[in-house]
């Protein structure tokens, strides 16, 4: 092994498993052990829409530099699934490794002469060591984790600690796991192939960071924001948002004295009903949310329009996936942007927020509740499968105890007493944001009849055109105010230093940042902006204005964010160059760089550098 090929803390491992075979916890053990060694690690689940039997992959990128995006090219493949073997062999980079279960002979067609083979008789070892059929199945996975720990130099203590935590209260399960780990380790030792030229070394890069998936962070955000009614309908990849909210509620929303719950969670009969419940609860003064994915968002359209016109707050977490309903539901995309921005019929637009990290999932979910209440309108959090269902290294979640819920312009009985006549849609402050009341506030003041648009400022029925127009014009005024209330975009530079800008949001962020780094190393500086909300603030327009070309990086076919920017900011579409990734896999820095380098504008800059 030559020193030049040695790669410390910088490689990609992919596990090829069979869905439902218990590989998930073994693979997680591997990832978490590296995390505990102070190294950046980014796992991605690539799984089918199926419960048992189909191929599933788990890909782990280890990065000393802290790159958290996906990277193409597999350095080591762990293949325990004969079904996918052909493509798994092909996926390994030249010079890389293919670890497989050699209990059965490897077919000639799978032999490449430019990669290394690590043949471990996993099944055989398991059958010799364990008698219980379920154990034989499960421990195959633990054996390869043991083998990898020896091959890569993962500290055994980390694995031991993790098992102890995992089986707290069920300690008698630990020895068998340790035994399986050791089987793998011993096999590697006996075969003298360790450590490999790709390996891990302890670092202190992680600090106080945590490893959490975005959906759990969203669930926590809703908990902290004071959501007390949640309604939902199961759909991958959003289900775990509510599951997390429910499980945290079991810990933090049960009255210690009465055992009664300070929360109501209802699994609705469909998404129409889920959003209806959310609107009903918010109308009645309880913070309420739902989470769904594209197909559910499609169904919720009519209600979202009503909430927009009737000015009822609602929080919706859209964990995006590829379309359509029977498409590739377990693959990621940022492809609901236009659907969400303009959901429903009539003149409607909705506030969107775009988290990029679990920390932001937490914070922006909490912000979404404040925004929805303050603006009295639906707010949609645009996350996706990649962020939602994959563990991410993230800054720790933070809550400021001084932070008080912003419930917006709500009149209580005392305030109603003071006014002569309550007008639900009267623009008293001139900002387009009107005052509302909850039912049962006052015996004789403040009641009103909520309906879509056929009403005047006092919520009285009218089909008068002038009244309709006054109302929707006021909604526009409110929309313009919202531009300064939503989370600001992130600028990556104090002063612009390039004629090239890149613009991105959500889960395209990590790979965009990596691409920016690589370009800088290659001598090309680009400016960057990360969107965090719609409507767009002035900063976004300014950024686009001052750059000659702006590359808009997103994960859908139709350049939806580019369209939204073009429509809303009246920008010459030619100025915005799409960088698109839409195969259902998380975007990589390579994809971004390759697309950018197709641009003659970028190439000309490189020429100058050369």
């Amino acid at each position: 092994m030559s020193l030049s090929t040695l790669k410390v803390n910088d490689f990609v491992v992919r596990f090829a498993n069979v869905n439902g075979s218990g590989s998930a916890s073994a693979n997680f053990l591997f990832t978490k052990a590296i995390f505990r060694m102070g190294i950046f690690v980014t796992p991605k689940n690539i799984f089918p829409s199926n419960i048992q039997g189909l191929p599933t992959w788990y890909e782990v990128r280890i990065s000393e530099k802290g790159y958290l995006g996906r990277r193409e090219g597999i350095d080591l493949m762990v293949c325990v699934n004969p079904q996918s073997m052909a493509s798994d062999v092909a996926a390994v980079k030249p010079g890389g490794y293919f670890l497989y279960d050699s209990s059965k002979n490897l077919h000639d067609q799978y032999i490449r002469d430019d990669i290394h083979y690590i043949a471990i008789p996993l099944m055989e070892m398991c059958n010799n060591a364990f008698t219980d059929p379920r154990q034989r199945q499960l421990f195959k996975n633990i054996i390869y984790v043991g083998a990898l720990s020896a091959l890569f130099g993962i500290e055994f203590k980390m694995l031991e600690d993790l098992l102890a935590e995992q089986f707290k209260g069920k300690e008698k399960l630990i020895p068998a796991n340790i035994k399986a780990l050791n089987l793998g380790i011993e096999w590697v030792h006996q075969n003298h192939i360790y450590p490999l030229d790709i390996r891990v070394e302890r670092r202190d890069l992680i600090g106080d960071r945590i490893m959490i998936d975005g959906n759990a962070a969203c669930g926590l955000g809703a908990l902290y924001a004071g959501a007390s009614v949640a309604a939902w309908y199961p759909i991958t990849p959003s289900t775990s948002v509510i599951e997390a909210f429910a499980s945290f509620s079991d810990s933090y929303r049960v009255d210690p004295v009465t055992g009664k719950k300070n929360v109501a969670i209802v699994q609705a009969e469909d998404e129409l009903s889920a959003i209806g419940m959310v609107i009903g609860a918010n109308w009645n003064g309880a913070r309420s949310f739902t989470s769904t994915s594209g197909p559910g968002l499609s169904l919720m359209n009519e209600f979202l329009g009503l909430a927009y016109f009737a000015e009822v707050p609602a929080v919706l977490i859209d964990v995006q996936r590829t379309g359509p309903s029977t498409g590739m539901p377990t693959r990621t995309q940022q492809s609901d942007i236009l659907l969400a921005a303009y959901a429903s019929h009539g003149d409607t637009k909705h506030v969107l927020v775009f988290p990029a990290t679990p920390k932001e999932c937490f914070e922006l979910t909490a912000d979404a509740f404040d925004l929805a209440d303050e603006l009295q309108t639906p707010v949609i959090l645009m996350t996706d499968l990649d962020l939602g269902m994959n563990d991410h290294i993230s800054e720790p979640l933070k809550w400021d105890d001084e932070r008080a819920y912003k419930k917006g312009k709500v009149l209580d009985a005392e305030a109603l007493e003071k006014i002569d006549k309550f007008g639900r849609y009267l623009d008293i402050d001139g900002d387009g944001i009107v005052y509302r009341t909850y039912p049962a506030t006052h015996p004789s003041k403040g009641s009103f009849f909520t309906r879509g648009s056929s009403r005047d400022e006092y919520a009285r029925y009218t089909e008068d055109s002038a009244a309709y127009k006054r109302n929707v014009d006021r909604l526009t005024k409110k929309w313009n105010i919202a531009k300064n209330m939503v989370p600001l975009p992130q600028l990556y530079q104090d002063k612009n230093a390039s004629s090239i800008g890149i613009l991105f949001f959500g889960t395209s962020t990590f790979s965009a940042e990596e691409a920016m780094d690589i370009l800088r190393d290659q001598g090309l500086v680009v400016d960057a902006i990360r969107l965090r909300a719609f409507p767009f603030s002035q900063t976004v327009l300014d950024f686009i204005d001052v750059h000659e070309r702006v590359f808009v990086i997103e994960q859908n076919r139709d350049a939806q964010m580019k369209s939204l920017l073009t429509i809303e900011l009246q920008i010459d579409p030619k100025k915005l160059i799409p960088v698109l990734n839409y195969d259902g896999m998380p975007i990589t820095a390579d994809t971004i760089l390759n697309t950018m380098k197709e641009s003659t504008f970028v190439l000309s800059k490189f020429k100058k550098i050369a």
């Binding site: 924001a225 009664k260 609860a281 918010n282 105890d401 049962a440 909520t450």
Partner: protein
């Protein structure tokens, strides 16, 4: 246009226990067709709330879309109302109810709104036993879209243009009984004496109370040959019983012949007093209620009155074990675990 009811009222209108006269329970002037059954039901709601001494602001009105769903604007102007989307009132009512369990929820729907576009939500609101009263103003047609047949239009019934409905109808009352509704009644917009006590009992019922009220559409479905016309309904109506709703602590004054009187006690001390007409029918027995409805249908009768009731069923809040306090009243300190807890939570993810 906004219609304001003339303010002048007879000075000696009787007052209820809260000191309100009946006009305090009215709403905006109706814009429905003169003679529309829906307006009579609205008047029944006004009378029931007046007699029950309800604080109007402690009641929330919810509806879907249709002529029927417009009616909440025409009663209880001191109550909040929500005219939602077509067929989806049950979900809005569910959310509202979850937010504040202390209010009375009155849902108003039409036969199109409930039996077609809203069938899914209707079925599930029953399953969840939301504590609300759900009134369907059933005219066998889509009034607001100008008279198309609805799913409750009887097979063989003729619409205004003389076309006969060839499809089987959906019988909402028997469906509700079948699905496990805990209070099911049927009535006729033209029979206030029966309707008002049913509305009162339904509001008092601590779960989902369903009342299917036949409510003729004078403009599109009141013709000869229609089974939802005033004439037809009057000729074919049969009652299970006469009904009296007896509020808590009120002395029972009505006297019935012994042997045919049944009193159903409610947990708050009020009761429903029935004077039974149908002999082998027991309002506390789901099967017998089902049989009575089916039998009457076979005989071409419209069976009205209280059909079934289960006074002990648990409502959604009880099923979910939510706190006794309205969820919308919980303070931030109760809802938000705070920064120290978050530090611990972070620790679990390291």
């Amino acid at each position: 246009m906004s219609f304001i009811r003339p303010k002048f009222r007879h000075p000696e209108l009787p007052k209820n226990a809260l000191g309100y006269t009946v006009d305090y329970y009215e709403g905006a002037l109706s814009t429905l067709c003169a003679g529309c059954g829906h307006d009579s039901i609205g008047a029944g709601v006004v009378q029931a709330c007046f007699e029950m001494n309800i604080e109007p602001h402690r009641l929330a009105k919810l509806s879907g879309i249709g002529c029927s769903s417009k009616t909440p604007n025409y009663f209880l102007s001191n109550s909040h109302g929500f005219n939602s989307v077509h067929g989806r009132m049950p979900s809005v009512a569910t959310g509202a109810n979850l937010a504040n369990r202390d209010l009375i929820y009155l849902g108003v729907s039409g036969d199109g709104d409930t039996a077609s576009i809203g069938m899914g939500q209707f079925v599930h609101v029953i399953r969840r036993n939301i504590n609300m009263i759900y009134i369907v103003m059933n005219n066998g047609c889509y009034g607001l879209t100008k008279g198309q047949d609805s799913a409750t239009s009887d097979n063989g019934s003729k619409n205004k243009t003389g076309v006969m409905n060839v499809y089987e109808s959906i019988d909402l009352a028997s469906l509700a009984i079948e699905l496990g509704a805990t209070f099911v009644a049927q009535s006729f917009s033209g029979d206030k004496a029966q309707l008002i006590p049913l509305i009162k009992a339904g509001m008092q019922h601590p779960g989902f109370a369903f009342i299917n009220v036949i409510s003729p559409c004078v403009t599109f479905n009141n013709n000869v040959g229609s089974t939802k016309s005033y004439d037809y309904v009057r000729q074919h109506i049969e009652a299970t019983s006469t009904v009296d709703f007896v509020p808590e602590m009120t002395e029972i004054t009505t006297t019935y012949k012994s042997g045919v009187t049944q009193k159903i006690g409610m947990h708050d001390g009020s009761s429903i007093q029935l004077h039974k007409i149908a002999q082998d029918w027991d309002p506390l027995d789901r099967q017998s209620a089902m049989n009575a409805v089916k039998l009457s249908k076979k005989n071409n009768e419209i069976l009205t009155g209280l059909l079934f009731m289960d006074p002990d069923a648990k409502d959604l809040h009880q099923l979910l074990q939510t706190t006794e306090k309205p969820l919308n009243s919980l303070s931030q300190s109760l809802l938000c675990p705070g920064s120290e807890m978050l530090k611990q939570i972070n620790e679990d993810f390291r």
